[in-house]
Amino acid sequence: MRLSTSEALAMILLSGGITFCLRALPFVVFQNKKKLPPLLESLANNLPPAIMAVLVVYCLKALPSLPPIEWLPALISVGVVTAIHLWKKNTLISVFTGTLCYMLLLQVPL
C-alpha cells in the first residue's frame, strides 16, 4: 500500500537528514582530534552487532502470531543463509541463495 506523497516525502527527508547528520558528526566534532573518548570507542564496537541482532528479530516479528507450521520457510531459510555464509563467507551468495530458498518454500504447499 502506498502512503500519500507528503507522508512518504516526510519520511524520506527525515531519514536522509538524520543519516547525513550522523555521518557528518565525527567530521564536525573530531576535526582536530585523533581519538574518541573511551566510552564512545567501546560503544562504537559494541552497539552495531546488538542493533543488527534486534533487526533480525524485527524481520521475523510476524512468526509468533503464525501457527508453528508456517514458521518453517523462514526458519529453514535462516538456517540455509547461516550455513552457506559460514561455508562460503560471501554475503552476496548467502543472501541470494537464502532469498531464493525462501521464495521457493513459500510457493511449495506444505
Binding site: 507522508e7 531519514s15 555521518r23 574518541l36 534486534v54 509468533p64 543463509v81 537464502g98
Partner: protein, 234 residues
Amino acid sequence: MPAKRFITLRFALAKTLPIALSYFFISTAYGIILGQAGYSFVWALFSSAFVYTGAFQFVLATFLTGGASLLTVGLTALFMNSRHIFYGLSFIKPFKKTGKLYPYMIHTLTDETYSLYCSLDYPKEVDETRAMVYIAVLAHAYWIVGSVFGAVVGNVLPLTLEGVDFCLTALFVTIVIDQWKAAKSHVSVLVGFGCGILCLLLLGASSFILPALILTSAILIIYNAKNTNKEVQS
C-alpha cells in the same frame, strides 16, 4: 593528466566490482518492494540517492508501505545508522582534500565504501584523492541504478515476487554472523537478541522495535561504562 585519470578510474572500477554486485542485487530488491507497493521509480531514485543506507532503507520500505509515525522513522534511522558516527574519524583529512566534494564524500560514506577505503593500497600511478571520489560516485550510482531498475521491474512484473523481502533478513543474518566472528565478546549480539525477543513477546509485532532498540542501547551503555571504568582504574 588524462592518462592518470584513466588509470585511476580503471582502478576504482576494479575495486568497486564486489560492491557493484551486492549493491545492485540488494537495491534491486529494495526497488521491487517500493514498485510493488505502487511507488514509481522516481521514489526509488530519490530515496536511494538521498538516504543511501542499505539496511535502513529496507526498514524504510516497510514504513513507506505500511505506515509509521515520524517519531518511529526518525528514531529508527538514528539507532540503525548510529554506527556511521564512527566511520568518519579515519577519513577527515583525506576527505578534506576533495575540496568542494567534501560534503558529498561524507554523504556517501557507507559500510561498504568505508571498508573499501580502509583496505585500499594505492599504486603509484593512481591519484588517491581522485580514486576515493570515483569510488564514492560509482558505489552511489550502482545503488541508485539498482533501485530504479527494481522499481520499474516491480511495477511491470505480472507475477508477485512474494518473499523477495527475505533478502533483508538474509542480509542482516550475514552481518550478525560476520560481527559475531569479528567480536571479542558476544555480549552485544546476545543482548540484542534477548531484548528483541523479550520486547516482541511482551509488546507484540507492531510496537516492539523502538523499546527493544532503547533497551539494548541502555544495557550496552551501562555495560560499557562499567568496563571502561574498570580499564581506567586498572
